[in-house]
Amino acid sequence: MAEGAEERNLPAWSLPSGSADLIKLDFDWPERVTRAWALEGATGKGVRVCILDSGVEPDHPRVGQINGAVAISIGEDGEPVATTDEEGDLCGHGTACAGIIRAIAPDCEIHSVRVLGAGYTGSGQVLLGGLRWAIEQEFDVINMSLSTTKRQFAEVLHDLADKAYFNRTILVASAHNMPVESYPWRFSSVISVGSHAESDSLRFYYNPNPPVEFFARGVDVDLAWSGGVTIRATGNSFATPHMSAICALVRSKHPELTPFQLKSVLHLIADNVGGRE
């Protein structure tokens, strides 16, 4: 084997002749990727899922125990800070997302990062601060059932989405079904999700006409809601945690997959591509 980049302590920007072993995959890619290979028997165990939203109500019957909760606010120095969240959920929405994920991937860890509720003014900074904090924690999956239309945040969000992608964190974001430019779902480094109207929580479709890449269950979904109750609702923001949970299942069974590989697997096992057999 030729002297490789690793031995010379160089960044992996090139691959010299004869050194393919240096980037050898640690696992055997199957001859055919199927749902059975990708997620059969998976429970989400060992996977850390972050919900960037309005908070999560502690000990909701449909959510159970969560593994951490912080609230992001703007500190005196004008920078976002993360503090332990004592308030739970200020809307119900974050709890709803957590309940969907718990139902599909029951053994995953759920961490709440509250970025909503402190007012409209400054909400963009809080959102960016929360996403940056979540990426630093190296969560496996970050669920973002939200978007911003502020162009001033687009470039930073784009950088953060790429950072997550290269650090093996899977960012799953709600697509917008309105005629406006919004982020981060339009970035190709995230998994963007719209709704289909069927009732199977594991059914999802690959969309060959981006920017929306996948359609997951988002209509008439029974949801955990704040106050310990259950409600029924519709929206891309509920399709997104379905996709996050499916990512958690695949990640728990195949922790070695990079975000690129995981997205490839999702494509191959999508209901309209032929992985479900």
Partner: protein, 213 residues
């Protein structure tokens, strides 16, 4: 004064921004209610200075007295819709006693179902449009969501235009002086009936001739 300044003054003078603004808000909620065969529809607009959502219009005469009620800008379903920019449909909110009570206190009406959509223009969020208690037809929700998004987009563009003209008018009035005189003259001219307007225009043209000599 520049020519642009006079043009702006004339434009601001002839647009009855305040009357049109109220009519537009009312029209938006009434059309939204009709499109979805709903019981109620209402609009919350964002007051950026106070960082609150203000209950500005409702379709139906019953709750007009609650117009002007304020709620925090990022809590509850309206706040979540505004801050996340995401539309949301909740079919049975009566299961959520806390929200039902809060909404009743603010709007005088306890809805069973809510469609909530942000009013967005370019990168700005103007407020939230809500449609309450539409009949639930299984299998139709996604098309309704898309329709609501399209309608909210049109409503937001109209609201934005009127908000701009209101701001222009306010700025002109505060500026006072010769621009305000032109705006008032344009508004007065605009209100005249056909025959009187023709006479007034002849008078103004005569004045123009004098001023140009």
């Amino acid at each position: 004064m520049s020519e642009d300044g006079f043009r702006a003054a004339v434009a601001a003078g002839v647009i009855g921004a305040d009357d049109a603004y109220g009519s537009l808000l009312r029209s938006i909620v009434e059309v939204a209610r009709a499109i979805f065969s709903a019981q109620r529809s209402s609009i919350f607009l964002l007051d950026e200075e106070s960082d609150e959502l203000v209950f500005e219009a409702v379709a139906g005469d019953e709750e007009q007295g609650l117009i002007g009620t304020r709620i925090p800008s990022s809590t509850g379903i309206a706040g979540w819709t505004l801050v996340t920019r995401q539309p949301l449909v909740i079919e049975d909110l009566t299961q959520d006693p806390r929200h039902a009570r809060e909404i009743a206190e603010k709007t005088g009406y306890v809805p069973k179902g809510i469609m909530s959509v942000p009013l967005l223009v370019d990168e700005r969020a103007l407020g939230v449009l809500q449609v309450l208690d539409r009949p639930h037809r299984p299998g139709f929700t996604l098309q309704e969501m898309d329709l609501l998004g399209l309608f909210a987009n049109q409503a937001a563009i109209a609201l934005d235009l009127l908000q701009r003209s209101r701001r222009a008018k306010t700025a002109l009035e505060e500026a006072g002086g010769d621009i305000a005189v032109v705006a008032r003259l344009a508004a007065a001219l605009d209100e005249l009936v056909e025959g009187d307007r023709a006479k007034a225009l002849r008078l103004l043209e005569a004045l123009e001739d004098v001023l140009r000599q």
